[in-house]
């Protein structure tokens, strides 16, 4: 038993160098009670046919994105995580913790340098050198930079990673920014926005990589076209009601019950790109609009500062009211001003004419 434990130790924690790696494979094979000619298989599998390695980092986040990832039914998260990828580092799921866990991260980074997928959930706190988000005793921002260096691709999962998310909302006390703002465009970055993104979209991106060996086609913002290719408004099943002009005016009114368009209750569907309208959540089960609440635009950059959410165009200021009221008031004022100006101009002209007449009269005399 003792022997087994130490071998596990060796294998799991120290297998960076090829020789020790082979040794640990051998150890593993024998100790697991496997046939010794399995050894070549283990080595071959580990060396030649590795599953795509995923390192999943957590910055400033709420773990809603992890949770969403876990809710995926197609692919089923268990199938994805245990069959299609090797999730070597994840604060949410990994068994290990502390030092050995950090060591494993570094081993993985070396062993799969230039090959691993870096998935990032959460924003990067930058204020005061990043001390608002510390992990392993270091600022997350420095960990991110280090792990990003040798990543093959980076996946930004969720609004936090794609645009700073909730913590970046005004006044952004921690100076949180997106992952892209830190790692630049040196690597291919896949942007998977949403707060959180739809489960099947999250796993779908990885699944695509596992199935086709490359990233899904991206739009000019870096989002997978197959999931963010259309506005919700252009895919929403309530669109016919919008087109016809049939709106819910208040929550729970006749229009709400009849499932009419939520435009007047602030729906952000017209400006939001996401799969909510077509894939919907949980394999077509529903999405906020289907459940009677307008979209709050959770896949848009900086949507948290595009509030209040129940106004289609936000109130301009607390005292003045909405834009149209301000506009109408401005038009009123301008018209009044113009009228006044007109009247004064007439007076001025009269005076001028009177003066001219006088001087003309003098001339005539």
């Amino acid at each position: 038993m003792d022997k087994l434990e130490t071998m596990w130790d060796v294998c799991l924690r120290k297998n960076i160098k090829r020789r020790s790696f082979l040794k640990s494979c051998a150890a593993l094979t024998s100790i697991m009670g496997l046939n010794m000619d399995m050894l070549s298989k283990v080595v071959a599998a580990a060396e030649k046919n590795p599953l795509p390695v995923v390192i999943w980092l957590h910055g400033h986040e709420c773990t809603g994105c992890d949770e969403s990832f876990l809710r995926s039914a197609t692919p089923l998260t268990s199938d994805l995580v245990l069959n299609s990828i090797a999730l070597e580092y994840s604060h949410a799921l990994s068994a290990a913790a502390g030092e050995p866990f950090e060591e494993h991260l570094h081993q993985t980074m070396q062993q799969y340098a230039g090959k691993y997928i870096l998935a990032v959930e959460g924003a990067v706190a930058t204020a005061e050198n990043g001390i608002y988000c510390m992990t392993g005793g270091k600022p997350f921002v420095s960990v991110l930079k280090e792990v990003a260096k040798n990543a093959a691709v980076i996946i930004e999962y969720g609004a936090c990673a794609t645009s700073g998310g909730i913590q970046a909302a005004k006044p952004n006390p921690t100076g949180s920014v997106s992952v892209r703002e830190i790692v630049g465009n040196s690597k291919p970055i896949v942007k998977v926005p949403g707060c959180p993104p739809i489960p099947e979209v999250m796993t779908g991106v990885v699944m695509h990589y596992a199935l086709f060996g490359k990233l899904p086609p991206l739009d000019n913002e870096g989002r997978p076209k197959q999931f963010y290719g259309n506005r919700i408004h252009d895919t929403c099943y309530r669109r016919p009601f919008f087109d016809t002009g049939m709106f819910a005016e208040n929550f729970d009114d006749a229009g709400s019950k009849a499932g009419w368009c939520l435009y007047k209750l602030g729906c952000r569907g017209p400006v939001t790109y996401n799969s909510c309208g077509n894939l919907r959540w949980w394999n077509g089960l529903s999405y906020p609009i289907q459940s009677g609440h307008g979209c709050i635009g959770c896949s848009n950059d900086h949507f948290w500062d595009e509030d209040p959410f129940y106004k289609r165009l936000p109130e301009y200021g607390p005292i003045l009211g909405d834009v149209d009221k301000i506009g109408a008031a401005a038009v009123g004022l301008t018209t009044a001003g113009v009228a006044l100006h007109g009247a004064m101009s007439v007076v001025q002209k009269k005076k001028r004419q009177a003066a001219e007449e006088k001087s003309d009269g003098k001339k005539v005399e």
């Binding site: 039914a73 949410a92 050198n129 006044p171 959180p196 509030d307």
Partner: protein
């Protein structure tokens, strides 16, 4: 004496670091420090927002207990504005809260906690035939048979039942072997699998545990299906102040809620009940029993000294929290504080928690003595949340630099959590606390007319005490007890969901389809200035949200969160919080591999995003 640091702690939510001083000779933890190492400033982000939007922002405190903060905020805002939500909205929110707790607990036990108890390495040694046999034993010996309230019995037979065939366990074992052979251990990499604690359970339990880890990974989503039906998504379903957005209509073709939608919810709740009865509760009890039998009854800590709860599940709509109405008709009356439960029921003291306590600045407040915050002008004081201040003041570690820590400073500031207090004292919150409170209240005759929930809880405690052959005062305030009561509570929450589903159906049947009260939707109907509080028994314990509204905008927002209660840094007298106490109540076999420390900390189901926010 050795100072051991574990950072990052995984299989939790967020960024947690612990440091313990272990006596290498005895394994005793002499001192412990728990630090939340990230802070996002969400309370500050709430300022100046429309109170009707608040739930969406503050919900993002946490995606694990995803609905907790939305409900806390809605309740606070509705309390401030004097809004009573319609019956249907109350039932729907309670269904959502119920299944949220179940799902959160399930994810915690199987996916965040299990790998402290069971190991894939041990599972490889198991005999699949014996494992299948053991599954049947577990089902018969460790099932806690409870009957819920009188309910709509819509399920013909239990659809989710643990598999107990050798082939099934063979296949699972093979999968584990394949992973090991591949050389890519994925999530199983780098754990201290050689730790002696993994020898406590027989290999078959390990295989069973791993199998159910996988089963529940696939199933947990179905528990919260109702969130997607009623709130459009999960995590982070949508709500509205005044009720729910999901209108009900049986007359319209496109209504968010109709018979078919309700059937989806019903199916999901039935599944949930089965998963509790046939997986979660028996699994936890089987494992817990073996631990307890081997003498592992440590890790209680604060649970033995002081536990706190606010109470939950308003059976019917209420008019407010500060006015006392919330507490008048609860299904789960765990409002109160129990001190010294560890000394036995007789020695235990009970203090009621009433609505008046909410507005009393002396009862609930938060200090920042050891937190990376300051209270300008009120140094050294504890502030009541309505007057609460969130102002960061980072001081760095004891050893190391501000951006490269060696050890944190237990004498100075060392965490992004504040220290919440009840009458100047810290307390533990959570399922265990709630169970201790209910148990004490009923045993001491403070509840004479238990609700069906409270009765069920008593039945469970009794059944488990029989299985473990220990008195509740002994097994409950322990690490195992914390994990076990969570499972028991999940079972209760599953029935709670069913109970409110029945109420919902009955009410719709009676012709009431209202889900939102929008009479106070318009800010013009609001007072110029008002404040409110929202209480909620979140999966991890008592949650309170505090809002001050001025001129239609949020003027101050404070949340005191379960994990803040539990994981807080010590107070100005140097007393420890629940995490620190629990660690100090746990023996460590190998200081360099402090698996016990991780296990006891994880028994709280840490949520750091929640705690620091």
């Amino acid at each position: 004496m050795k100072r051991v640091v574990v950072d990052p702690i995984t299989r939790i939510e967020g960024h947690l670091r612990v440091e313990v001083k272990v006596d290498e000779a005895t394994g005793k933890v002499e001192d412990a420090l728990s630090s939340g190492t990230a802070w996002r400033g969400l309370e500050l982000i709430m300022n100046d927002r429309d109170p009707r939007d608040g739930w969406a922002y503050i919900q993002r405190i946490c995606g694990v207990c995803t609905t907790a903060h939305a409900l806390g905020c809605l309740r606070a805002v509705e309390d401030a504005l004097g809004i009573t939500i319609p019956k249907n909205a109350n039932y729907i929110r309670n269904i959502m809260a119920g299944v949220q707790s179940v799902q959160d607990h399930v994810i915690h036990f199987y996916h965040l906690h299990a790998l402290d108890w069971v190991s894939p390495v041990e599972a490889l040694k198991a005999d699949p035939v014996a494992t299948a046999a053991m599954q049947n034993t577990v089902l018969s010996a460790y099932k806690v048979n409870v009957t819920g309230p009188e309910s709509l019995d819509t399920e013909a037979y239990p659809k989710e039942f643990p598999k107990a065939t050798p082939e099934y366990y063979q296949k699972i074992q093979k999968k584990v072997k394949d992973i090991v052979e591949s050389g890519q251990l994925g999530i199983f990499a780098a754990q201290w699998w050689d730790h002696p604690d993994f020898q406590i359970l027989p290999p078959e339990v390990h295989l069973l545990g791993i199998a159910h880890y996988l089963e529940m990974l696939d199933k947990q989503r179905e528990i919260v299906t109702s969130h997607v039906v009623f709130g459009g998504k999960n995590p982070h379903p949508h709500y509205i102040v005044g009720g729910m957005p999901c209108s009900i209509s049986m007359d319209d073709m496109n209504a968010p809620v109709n018979t078919e939608r309700l059937a989806i919810v019903d199916r999901s709740i039935n599944t949930t009940i089965n998963l509790m009865n046939d997986f979660y509760v028996p699994d936890v009890l089987a494992i817990g029993k073996m631990y307890v039998d081997k003498g592992y009854v440590d890790g209680g800590g604060m649970a033995k000294e002081r536990v706190l709860g606010f109470g939950d599940y308003p059976d019917e709509p209420y008019t407010g929290t500060t006015n006392g109405d919330f507490h008048k008709n609860l299904l789960y009356r765990c409002n109160g504080i129990v001190e010294d439960f560890g000394k036995g029921l007789d020695a235990a003291k009970f203090y009621d928690f009433k609505a008046e306590d909410l507005s009393d600045p002396e009862v609930l407040n938060e200090g920042v003595e050891h937190s990376w915050y300051e209270y300008p002008g009120a140094e050294g004081k504890d502030l009541h949340p309505w007057d609460g201040v969130t102002k960061a003041k980072y001081t760095g570690p004891k050893e190391g630099t501000k951006t490269d820590w060696k050890t944190l400073d237990e004498d100075g500031k060392y965490s992004w959590l504040k220290t919440p207090k009840w009458r100047g004292k810290m307390a533990e919150v959570g399922p265990l606390s709630r169970y201790i409170i209910i148990y004490t209240k009923i045993k001491k005759g403070l509840i004479t007319d238990p609700t069906w929930v409270e009765k069920m809880i008593m039945d469970q405690i009794e059944a488990v005490s029989k299985v473990l052959n220990l008195a509740p005062e002994v097994w409950m305030p322990t690490m195992v007890g914390r994990t076990a009561t969570r499972a028991l509570e999940a079972q209760v929450h599953a029935y709670v969901a069913k109970y409110y589903f029945n109420k919902l159906i009955k009410n719709i049947k009676a012709g009431d389809t209202k889900v939102a009260d929008t009479t106070k939707w318009d800010p013009k109907t609001w007072p110029k200035e008002c404040k409110g509080v929202g209480l909620y028994e979140a999966p991890r314990g008592a949650l309170s949200h505090w809002v001050v509204i001025k001129d239609g905008k949020i003027a101050n927002y404070q949340a005191i969160v379960p994990t803040t209660w539990n994981a807080c840094p010590r107070d100005n007298k140097g007393d420890h919080g629940a995490y620190e106490k629990a660690m100090m109540d746990t023996k460590v076999k190998i200081p360099d591999k402090p698996l016990e420390i991780l296990k006891v900390v994880r028994s709280f189901d840490p949520c750091m995003a929640c705690s620091t926010h």
